[in-house]
Symmetry: C2
Amino acid sequence: MPEKRRALSNAAELERRIPKAVIKRLSLYSRVLQNLEIAQREKVSSRELAAQLGLNSAQVRKDLAHFGQFGVPGLGYYVADLRRNIKGILGTDRGVRLALVGVGNLGSALLSYGGFQRQGFQMIAAFDSDRRKVGSSRAGVAIHDVGDLSRVIRVERVDIAVLAVPVDHAQGVCDSLVDAGITAILNFVPAYLAVPDHVKVHYVDLSIEIESLSYYLR
Amino acid sequence: MPEKRRALSNAAELERRIPKAVIKRLSLYSRVLQNLEIAQREKVSSRELAAQLGLNSAQVRKDLAHFGQFGVPGLGYYVADLRRNIKGILGTDRGVRLALVGVGNLGSALLSYGGFQRQGFQMIAAFDSDRRKVGSSRAGVAIHDVGDLSRVIRVERVDIAVLAVPVDHAQGVCDSLVDAGITAILNFVPAYLAVPDHVKVHYVDLSIEIESLSYYLR
DNA sequence: TAGATTGTTAATCGATTAACAATC
DNA sequence: TAGATTGTTAATCGATTAACAATC
């Protein structure tokens, strides 16, 4: 007779148990730790970490405790050590490979923005359907025909797709991405994407952010 | 002897009682309703609304019930009517006025993006400290000197500031915005902003989104 | 050692979902 | 009327915070 509950054996199972909000904060911690490291700080307490992010110190300790014991009672956390651990947990220590789909207004902006490269992510390829763009490059990234999506994504071993196509093409392109084996999508298109369970979509939606801010205007 | 609890008398008090997540979804409903209206649909059920956004129908009904009774049992919601109501609640029916601070890579992109204007928001002014940019305009928006921040923001009655300055200027500029009377900030800078209680900040942080996606790669 | 801060448990708070009587 | 769908209550689920013994 099998035990009622298997041990946490693999990443997929472990994921389910870590709240999404914790993962988001993990990258915030990582950034603060980077700054502390630059400032040559050796140690930091959960209290200070929390203060720098407007959080509660118990929350910081609890978040980290999900993944192990990183701190020293009475002392705090060693900055460099904790940072390395968090990068390992997030998987950002192994050069995550990105591709952009849709080199329009917003897409171009994202390419020239450069904020991605800076954090150790690599923008490997871009895709568009416009004949005039295909074959050229923007900010050092080659623009391919969307027809080659599947092939290029496999060959270049792309981890995450950044979606910035016109709204009426979003679901179709999304389906192609999933077919090509993509499991993580950063979606800038103001549309809900239906995807299988194993695919993770994060939404960045500028007008939704503005609209909900409007509500709070006195 | 005063009653233990005053009635919900003003917006500030009402706000506290409406969960933030509900407000975010309200703008999502608004967008779906816009599409339904374009498609000439007269009515829609909470079930369909939910399906189009990957939500639960009970959640849709409960969200809307926070603000009144908009539906008809057995029938659903009238598309145009519900949309009008939601826009009223969000306050997006009265031309929200925006200003951009920081016309660098990302800032320029946001100006030419145009996604804001399209949804009925008005980009009124931009600010930068670079002499070469000040006095010119981008995408039809005049670029002012940050020194004139306070004056222009008051004169132009700006509702929401969009922040896209270099990270080490973020808190300083944020303080100026608050001094100028701004109560809502959309922050693209990867930094936590300390603000008084009456000011609402929304964060859009691209590298945090990518980092947390990385975690979910198999 | 005395002081500080962790990791963890219990208490609180908030948000989501299921279920169903009321209503059209 | 019969069928459908709302608004709302109760149950569940998940996330945050307070408190403190254990530890350096």
